[in-house]
Symmetry: C2
Subunit: 555 residues, 2 copies
Amino acid sequence: MSLFTKHQTVLNKAIEALHARTFYAAYPEHPAPDVYGETADADGQVKFKNQLGKKFEELKQPGASAWGGQEESPYTQEALNISYPLFSVNTLIDNSKKAFHLWRKVNVQDRAGILLESLDRVKKRFFEIAYATMHTTGQGYMMAFQASGPHAADRALEAIAAGYEELNRFPEKAMWDKPMGKFNIQLNKEWHAVPKGISLVIGCSTFPTWNSVTGIYGSLITGNPVIVKPHPGAILPIAIFVAEIQNVLEENHLDPTICQLAVDTFDKMITKELAENPEVKLIDYTGNSVFGSYLEALPGKTVFTEKTGVNSVILDSVEDADKAAANLAFSVNLYSGQMCTAPQNFYIPADGINSPAGKISFDEFAQKLAAQINSLVDNPKAGPFVLGAIQNKKTSKRVTESETLPGKIILKSRTFENPQFKNARTATPLVVEIDSNKKEIFSKELFGPIALLIKTKNTNESIALAQEMAMKHGAISCAAYTTDAHVREKIADEMALATTPVSFNLVGGIYMNQNAAFSDFHVTGGNPAGNASFTNPEYVTKRFTWVGHREPVKG
Amino acid sequence: MSLFTKHQTVLNKAIEALHARTFYAAYPEHPAPDVYGETADADGQVKFKNQLGKKFEELKQPGASAWGGQEESPYTQEALNISYPLFSVNTLIDNSKKAFHLWRKVNVQDRAGILLESLDRVKKRFFEIAYATMHTTGQGYMMAFQASGPHAADRALEAIAAGYEELNRFPEKAMWDKPMGKFNIQLNKEWHAVPKGISLVIGCSTFPTWNSVTGIYGSLITGNPVIVKPHPGAILPIAIFVAEIQNVLEENHLDPTICQLAVDTFDKMITKELAENPEVKLIDYTGNSVFGSYLEALPGKTVFTEKTGVNSVILDSVEDADKAAANLAFSVNLYSGQMCTAPQNFYIPADGINSPAGKISFDEFAQKLAAQINSLVDNPKAGPFVLGAIQNKKTSKRVTESETLPGKIILKSRTFENPQFKNARTATPLVVEIDSNKKEIFSKELFGPIALLIKTKNTNESIALAQEMAMKHGAISCAAYTTDAHVREKIADEMALATTPVSFNLVGGIYMNQNAAFSDFHVTGGNPAGNASFTNPEYVTKRFTWVGHREPVKG
């Protein structure tokens, strides 16, 4: 049985879900023993621990020039001391150039089979990846498991499905038969989906697999060799993905360098050298806007970026203020505000929020939000695991500095003790009240656990500001609370113009930060927060070019 | 009956053809009386003549600041003296900004109905457009009719079909139902295809409708208002399209400025001012590479370009050298080499071309090609009509200057008399032999009737040069003659890598210059000849953004 046949059912379901945009999860998100096996968690943890202080020797790439690695755990604030093979840019490019001509000639079904098989292999390592993610990103265990494991695998599958479908959208061959009166002109036409060339996928420090696998699998399914350049602070999770892709390639007698890992160190970053290499035709990137915009401006490249944004919450009217505050408090606390979808700017009318129980004043709602944040933080069974740790020292510094913002502090940031990791770098959300005329304060991303409660004249001003921020500075998510159908319509329309998806009236166990595979176009690509979406048709069609040849039919 | 219902059959056929990539022509290309009516040709000519020396008063755009127009007929070398309303960039942008919010709210079916109806109206004016095209571009009558009339309308229909399909590809709404163990999270999701904003379509002087309608209709079907900026030398053909679009909009109680014409004059061009306006989000462009690359580099715009290229003919082996030479001679003569798909570089091995009749030497083939060119030029019933006239004086000058190229002249360019227009600006093809080591000569576009016969070491060098030229300098078409299956495969593969479509072994009534709607991805977008193709999915999906909103299902 071919790998394609083996995985065809999953592929078909994924394509179906992609079109229906309904819920689909090929890889269960519950790290339960009945799903992944009794010992899977413990085994994964042991594997992760065994890797510490050692060489990562799973890669099948020739020509390493040295070994290196500078990952550090936000939970222990100690170096992981894992070293990876380092390669010169020339070696990486030379390997990829050769691999290109092999991989592009592998047919689409075989490519799909190999890539789907690699996800099956990765599935067996979800727990190992979870611990690797925790100790590089600072994510809590549950998020580290879900985001880096099953959700990432779903996103990878989604990219495979989208690519597979686009590549099969037009016929390989057709006879073109044009009546000319007394005779017909008949041409045999053939169409080739020509991959663009070497693909560079640049990872980030907070979501090392989830944000990278779409580009990796999107490029691979369309026939491009990939060089994965992880963030030097978060290598191991994606290294495991790459190693498993290489395993399946080798088993199928293909060159493992079709997908390479390009580790670098903080003191000698190779990202620019790779990105500027003329052989690199495709670039996927998640990270800060300055570097993203530099990449977008490189001539002769097709670039997919997810950059930073200023996400808004518009509070107009609520069914239940406490439930709304609880939901938003969770969003603010989740991974200590280090998600690209986390809310930052809360627009609240100066005269308060309508509710069935009467008007809730600005200050009342602010206190409710602060109380809900505290309540979660101080819950020892939940707080430390929801908040996780702070990936980067700079984020901690930003939180401290933000206490001097020109506004009333509603809630101070503090540290808290993680029962498992005494040395964890932690910070609870800082909440500051800002007047709506202080646009310079809230018109930039303050990455980390920082929430600004912006006092507006009314909901119209709230909407206008949320739209303006998204259009000028980018936005990936927006939450809105309103019980008024007209206001809802206005928010939906104005934020759609700013190409920002809105989550309306979320309460309970679903949060504005969460974007699902097969259903949500993560990052619309239409505002400055990024120029591409996971996974619309463009996300894969831009990775190859249709070329048609033709020849007269022989009589 | 709605306009959508009226035209639904044509739309469905177009979508079907787009997917099958087979022959389809919604608008018959034969200017025959039985198709368009006994008096259609004569009536069209009268209408065109009546427009000369007068104001073009069909547009429904308010706020003209003056009237102007500088079109000149390449056939009479006299001014047409047609004047058009001129508008300030501010007026155009202000009109478009208002129109945007009206047009984006018109549903996709209604947009499609209106646009298809406009093509039906234009169909009644194909002959008028043909004469307008002749006397602005210098095209021969038949090409002017076909390219600016039915073929352009087919391309417009193709863009409507592609847009309609993409907009209907994903559901408008879906219920997302996620099992969480003891309960389900249910979200109502809704998706909006949000148009990008004002679309600027910049026309060229040689194909004023064919090259512009795809962008116009592609932007309109996806909900964007359009500003059409024609080349100041070729306004009338596209002005008629815009007038008919405005007619149908007005009849349907919509603002005619949803599609505006932005005429300018050579002494006061407004293209840059329009393109750089921050409200302009989409730009379609056909023209020279310098301006095209400037447009592509403008920040914050989605830009579709068709620029210049260096098209190749690879001659390896032929079934019948005379038939091949005749076919290529027609391609060289057609519209005096002023097509973006016209061949320029003919790669011929120094030791000749194989054929069943034995080796044909380089010189022999050169003489055959020259003889076939002359034979067509000197055929009074065909020559003047196939060659047409030279649109731009600069092209005539380029032909004269090229006689000093460092190589043997195989055929000198000359003028010829057009029986209908004694003052026509004409030039027959210049054919020059160039050695393959003189790369600096043949690595740029020599627009106009100029063919270079490049003497190569062998077919491998021919292929390598054709590929290099396409990759470095762009190519839109390529012809290859070979009777060897291995050579064919190599050419197909190497030129596909340079994303250049190859026409193999064309003889008879089909030419490398011709690209058909619904079948050929005109301009692949993968090499420097342009960054976009007519009409792959990207061509329309890049004109809007998917935005999804969501809200919990009410219990």
